[in-house]
């Protein structure tokens, strides 16, 4: 229809706080990610592990009375309802998340830099801090959805299928561990991904950089440890550092053990990495010209 035949209509109403603009950014970001088939494949991979563990807990609870031998066999699958078991579960889910984020990074963050999305956001009624918070929230939502939420469901399932509700009373640290480890993973991975994607926005270089951090660096660290005979090189593995902090959250950190002795270092390295990522991210976002 010709333009002149259609009247322009004004709009009136209350405008919401700029912080409320975070939600549409999170929502549109997630919907963009979920429109890709590869993300559903990776999500299914994460779901598979969750369903497997969920089924084991259920079967174990059912067979505990009828067939104690089989239940004992199932214990070897390490679904024991202890903090260590949840830590292992979340660690495995975290690996899937890591893969998913490697592919989602360019979609979620990178495209904003090389396709003008950031100018679009920043020319609206919001500041740079709102944009950064929203993007971090979107990544955190993915991480929490794959790691923490399934772990919480398993925790509730385990408690409900035990004979009494004592499981919840006796294991509050597990709940703290699930939330704490999930939060640490969410914050660190979101900052790291947002910072990297702001520098290498395109998919292939981003996946390569991500792989370097989570695959190459641990391998280098392990080699250096063997060559120099110094365990401090193991700290190059950020994934291991996160797990160490996760152990502390679950209360299963044992400083007598060789692999846990670097916990104090890990507790410094992880916040330092976060701080560096935040600085990089803020500088990068600040450098974007809305008017060119």
């Amino acid at each position: 229809m010709a333009i002149e035949l259609l009247g322009y209509r004004g709009w009136r109403g209350d405008l919401r706080s700029p912080w409320m603009a975070c939600w549409p950014i999170v929502r549109s970001g997630l919907s963009l990610v979920l429109r890709r088939k590869i993300f559903w494949v990776l999500l299914a991979l994460g779901l598979l592990n969750f369903l497997f563990t969920f089924a084991i807990i259920y079967i174990k609870a059912q067979l505990a009375v009828e067939n104690p031998g089989f239940a004992k066999f199932l214990d070897s699958v390490k679904v024991t309802g202890t903090g260590e078991a949840y830590l292992d579960f979340m660690f495995a889910q975290g690996t899937v998340t890591m893969l998913l984020l490697a592919f989602a990074g360019s979609q979620l963050i990178g495209s904003d830099y090389h396709q003008g999305g950031l100018s679009f956001y920043l020319s609206r009624r919001m500041e740079r801090r709102h944009y950064v918070s929203a993007k971090l929230l979107a990544i955190e939502a993915i991480v929490l959805l794959i790691t923490t939420v399934p772990a919480l469901v398993l925790y509730v399932e385990y408690g409900l299928l035990s004979n009494s509700l004592d499981y919840f009373r006796e294991n509050p640290r597990i709940l703290f561990g699930i939330l704490g480890y999930g939060l640490i993973m969410a914050v660190v991975l979101s900052l790291l991904l947002a910072a990297i994607a702001s520098w290498v926005p395109r998919a292939v270089p981003l996946v390569m950089t991500w792989s370097c951090i989570f695959i190459l660096l641990p391998i280098v660290g392990e080699h250096m440890r063997n060559i120099r005979d110094n365990r401090i090189w193991r700290l190059l593995s950020l994934w291991r550092d996160l797990r160490t902090l996760g152990k502390w959250c679950f209360g299963s950190l044992n400083l007598e053990r060789d692999e846990d002795r670097l916990a104090y270092w890990a507790a410094w390295i992880v916040p330092a990495v976060c701080l560096i990522c935040l600085i990089v991210l803020v500088r990068k976002v600040r450098a974007v010209e809305v008017v060119r």
Binding site: M1, Y8, L15, F120
Partner: protein, 352 residues
């Protein structure tokens, strides 16, 4: 008038409650007309923007130098060469950047520190392409509305309205990255219009458009400014666009405002120029004209029997005919020389 509440929200119209007290039976159109009338009243009361000795440096590079100007509401063109300071001025007007020195206000909002409140009333259409791959046209515009603070449902409804208004009704469910250049320009305008701002900042709105698309875009901008009371700041290198849409112009050169005002008034300084056409030997005729104080300029590209004449104050056009008659020269044409914006721009730059 808009005002900040304690909760950081913005009321778009603080007088809505008063205006709603209208007799039963009166439709929304009357309500809207009243609102528009109030807005119009409000518009005349306040200038569009005012800058006072605004200076901005990028490191040691001075992008704007002591810019002081007051611009009334309406359609305003912003012209200048590359590096003249147009983008810096747009950033300041959008509240994206604080100037190094100086002060000012845009529609009553201080240019220092009210960026969010300011952008609630300003719509920005950038020159550069902006895409969020995967989103449909209507989702993209709706998202722009939500980011401007509109509730989700209203943003979606408004996105449909604006896209229909801009002629993208049939393409609204297509992914916006698949749009043609013309459609993308309209989509960008839709994202700027979705929250119904009072001021539109348009950066090269006709860039990349074919002649029909350009014509259509200019017509649209003219309608928005003329019929719907939107103020426009049009930054472009295409002076014909400004000539077509804007009433006023700001000419920037090396970070300084060299001319500002209504285009017609700026053209007024060009009065007293005539295009002369004659037949016969005119050498003596032209010499006599010069002796009467008329400045004769050769018009490059014009045939040999044509010239531009700049007459002194108090000149009577009858003298042209009298002198021509004296020298047996037939005066075939005598018409005022209308200056287009391009000539005006070049003349101003030459003077500076």
């Amino acid at each position: 008038m808009r005002l900040n509440t304690a909760h950081g929200r913005l009321k778009t119209e603080n007088s809505v409650r008063n205006v709603r007290i209208i007799p039963a039976g009166c439709g929304g159109n009357l309500w809207h007309a009243l609102l528009q009338a109030r807005r119009a009243g409000h518009n005349t009361a306040m200038s569009l923007f005012e800058l006072e000795q605004v200076t901005h440096f990028y490191g040691s590079l001075c992008a704007l130098k002591d810019v002081s100007l007051k611009v009334e509401r309406g359609a305003v063109g912003l012209v200048g060469q590359n590096g003249a300071g147009k983008s810096t001025m747009l950033k300041i007007l959008l509240g994206l950047m604080r100037p190094t020195a100086g002060r000012g206000q845009v529609m009553g909002h201080d240019i220092r520190g009210s960026g969010v409140a300011l952008r609630a009333r300003v719509g920005y259409m950038p020159e550069a392409e902006m895409t969020l791959p995967g989103l449909r046209g209507v989702e993209f515009v709706s998202l722009a509305g939500e980011l401007s603070g509109m509730p989700r449902r209203q943003a979606m409804r408004r996105a449909h309205e604006v896209l229909s208004y801009l002629g993208l009704e049939e393409a609204r469910y297509r992914r916006h990255e698949e749009y043609s250049v013309g459609m993308k320009q309209r989509l960008k305008l839709a994202t700027a219009l979705v929250h119904d701002p009072e001021l539109l900042l348009l950066d090269e709105p006709t860039a990349g458009l074919d002649p029909d698309g350009r014509e259509s875009m200019l017509e649209l901008l003219g309608t928005l400014a003329g019929r719907h009371g939107k103020s426009l700041i049009l930054s472009t290198h295409l002076l014909g666009d400004i000539d077509r849409v804007c009433e006023s112009v700001i000419i920037l050169e090396r970070g300084q405002v060299v001319r500002v005002g209504r285009i017609e008034e700026l053209r007024a300084t060009y009065r007293g120029r005539y295009r002369l056409q004659w037949q016969g030997q005119a050498a003596q005729f032209l010499r006599d004209l010069e002796s009467e104080g008329v400045q004769i300029l050769a018009d490059p590209g014009a045939p040999g029997d044509e010239a531009l004449a700049i007459v002194p104050d108090g000149w009577s056009n009858r003298t042209f005919f009298a002198l021509a008659d004296n020298h047996k020269v037939v005066l075939r044409g005598l018409e005022p020389d209308h200056e287009n914006l391009e000539s005006l721009y070049h003349r101003v730059l030459k003077q500076e």
